[in-house]
């Protein structure tokens, strides 16, 4: 953290960053996420083997010098597959959370801004989504859409929409009454302009917090879909699918094919959880406890 001595009162963002930097657990979380992002982006250069290249001669090799984390049933290098998998798992989570927020926020803003019928329709639809346990709903949707990466992302995104629409609606109800919104309306700004220029930018910070907190859970959800054969399809090196591929060989003593992708998932989710906790503490100082 860069500290400038004797400076005038710090801007709020500097204060926030400094407080974030003091929380070593959230910095660790951020480091984990940055690390995995770099790994994902640089996987072609970091990995020693082609993640989907079949090598029958090297099937089910235990971890060793040639293959640090061993090879799977098709002789593919587990380490290379995990490195490439970082791309898939992170991209899936970002895409699903992005789609959920991208659909949920406008719906919530419309509901909060117009009220009445729009509000009823959006909110009752959200209630329906919230009536299902998330994984169960994601499984049902993904099975209706069929197997495939984008279909699984869509299913996970739909499950997430309701959370964002409710949050955005709540903020909109408050923002709608703000003086600057009234001023904009008096100036003759149209409804879409008010929503896009004045309301949406002001409700983004709770949305960002929720999105960060939701990333870890989304990774778990998507991996769960892949684990039962929906979502990423073979030979895609997605971590949940890899755990599934190693599952039948566990009882023959081949533990490495399933174990390592699971550890990868766990570290990413842990990173997001630590980071999310830190960000939430920043936004809501009441929740952060210092005794």
């Amino acid at each position: 953290m860069r500290e400038v001595p004797g400076r005038a009162p710090a801007a709020p963002i500097d204060l926030l960053l400094r407080r974030f930097g003091r929380n070593s657990l959230s910095v660790a979380g951020l480091a984990i996420i940055v690390l995995w992002t770099v790994v994902g982006l640089a996987s072609p250069w970091l990995s020693t083997r082609d993640p989907i290249e079949v090598d029958v001669g090297a099937r089910l090799q235990p971890p060793g010098l040639a293959h640090w984390l061993g090879t799977d049933f098709y002789g593919r290098d587990v380490l290379s597959r995990i490195l490439y998998g970082a791309r898939y798992d992170l991209a899936i989570a970002v895409a699903a959370v992005g789609l959920a927020a991208g659909a949920g926020v406008p719906l919530g803003v419309l509901a909060g801004y117009y009220g009445r019928l729009v509000d009823d329709v959006v909110m009752r639809a959200s209630d329906v989504l919230l009536a299902f346990p998330s994984l169960v709903l994601a499984l049902a949707l993904a099975s209706a859409l069929g197997p495939g990466l984008w279909k699984a992302i869509t299913a996970v995104a739909i499950v997430g929409i309701a959370g964002y629409s409710r949050l955005a609606r709540g903020s909109t109800l408050a923002l709608r009454e703000e003086a600057y919104v009234e001023a904009a309306r008096a100036e003759g700004a149209s409804d879409p302009r008010i929503m896009i220029r004045y309301i949406i930018p002001n409700l983004m910070s709770p949305i960002v917090v929720r999105a960060t907190l939701g990333m870890g859970f989304t990774v778990l959800l998507a991996a769960g879909l892949s684990f039962v054969g929906l979502g990423a399809q073979p030979p895609t090196p997605e971590w949940g699918a890899m755990i599934n591929e190693g599952r039948n060989q566990l009882v023959t003593g081949v533990w490495w094919v399933s174990t390592f992708p699971g550890l990868a998932i766990m570290s990413v989710v842990l990173g997001f959880n630590l980071l999310g906790d830190g960000i939430r503490d920043l936004m809501d100082p009441r929740g952060s406890v210092r005794v």
């Binding site: 009536a131 299902f132 346990p133 049902a140 069929g146 769960g224 054969g229």
Partner: protein, 309 residues
């Protein structure tokens, strides 16, 4: 890999001629337009008819009644484990903030919350059964040679006591333990975090300070004054998060071959057995909503200020 046509999947790859497939489509109503299929489903649904399962060959409602007790047993067991371990750990953590005990229970609970339970289940099976031989094989609710007790509730541990067969109780608990603990871990993580936060918050309240000033011992402050008040926010969030438990259920049941609604749902997905998928999804939703209602009602027990007229 799930192919696209339930009829082809049902008939098998090679065997199916186009005529047979079409006949099956007609029989299952798959040749009709989607809105008509939907109307048909809803009409049956309101009459309590969930349709017919392709892969089991029985009505879906019958299947669900058959598989529900196993899911109930597993969920209840893991809920009890989560409460029994999570609440004391959370209180400990909250009462001794920033001690070693606090840090380890916080890090532990975050780890529990961060791991995929289906993966942990596989690790438990590999290490506990395959390598060490301490835990039972993942054969479901009982070993292959065990005889289930006569059905009263369908919950084996309960039925073995009700029908006076304590001999089955041992194996029933023994087989229940690994999946129940696996399923409980994320919930333990959640409970510890919730209880810790609320204990810390409550301990900062004026009435706690007053109690301390009166000379009430720390233990008394904690259990008389702090604990009960800390439970209300805990129960609230726990109620909302109970979906986590049900979500975990589906995959953990699959991993341990536990014959519950979760395994049934996954099998149905792989068979493209849509009536069964819809039926089990609706059942999970119904349970979820019912549990949330129970949580709301439980506030009145915890907080005497709340009354439901």
């Amino acid at each position: 890999m799930v192919p696209g046509d339930p009829a082809r999947l049902y008939l098998g790859e090679a065997a199916a001629g186009d005529q047979v497939v079409e006949a099956l489509h007609r029989q299952w109503g798959l040749d009709r337009p989607l809105p008509a299929q939907y109307a048909y489903y809803v009409r049956n649904l309101v009459q309590g008819n969930l349709g017919f399962s392709i892969h089991s060959g029985r009505p879906v409602a019958e299947d669900l009644t058959h598989f529900l007790p196993a899911t109930a047993e597993l969920s209840l067991a893991s809920f009890l484990i989560a409460i029994a371990i999570g609440i004391p750990l959370g209180v400990l953590s909250g009462a001794r903030v920033n001690t070693l005990a606090d840090h380890s229970s916080r890090v532990g609970s975050l780890l529990f919350l961060s791991m995929p339970s289906f993966w942990f289940g596989l690790i438990v099976i590999y290490a506990g059964y395959f390598v060490l031989g301490w835990l039972p094989a993942p054969t479901g609710r009982l070993g292959l040679t065990d005889v289930p007790p006569p059905t009263i509730t369908g919950i084996y541990t309960l039925d073995s006591l009700l029908t006076g067969r304590p001999a089955v109780l041992g194996p029933a608990l023994w087989y229940l333990l690994p999946p129940a603990v696996t399923l409980a871990l994320p919930s333990i993580g959640l409970v510890v975090r919730l209880v810790r936060t609320s204990i810390v918050e409550v301990l900062g309240q004026d009435y706690v300070r007053t109690a301390r000033a009166k000379g009430v011992a720390t233990r008394g402050v904690l259990y008389r004054h702090a604990f009960r008040n800390a439970l209300i926010p805990t129960v609230t969030v726990l109620g909302v998060q109970i979906g986590l438990l049900f979500s975990g259920n589906v995959l953990v049941e699959t991993v341990f071959a536990w014959p519950g609604v979760g395994s049934y749902l996954v099998t149905s997905i792989q068979w493209l057995d849509y009536s069964a998928v819809m039926g089990s999804t609706l059942l999970f939703a119904a349970i979820f909503v019912a549990v949330n209602l129970l949580v709301d009602l439980s506030y009145a027990l915890l907080d005497p200020r709340i009354h439901y007229a």
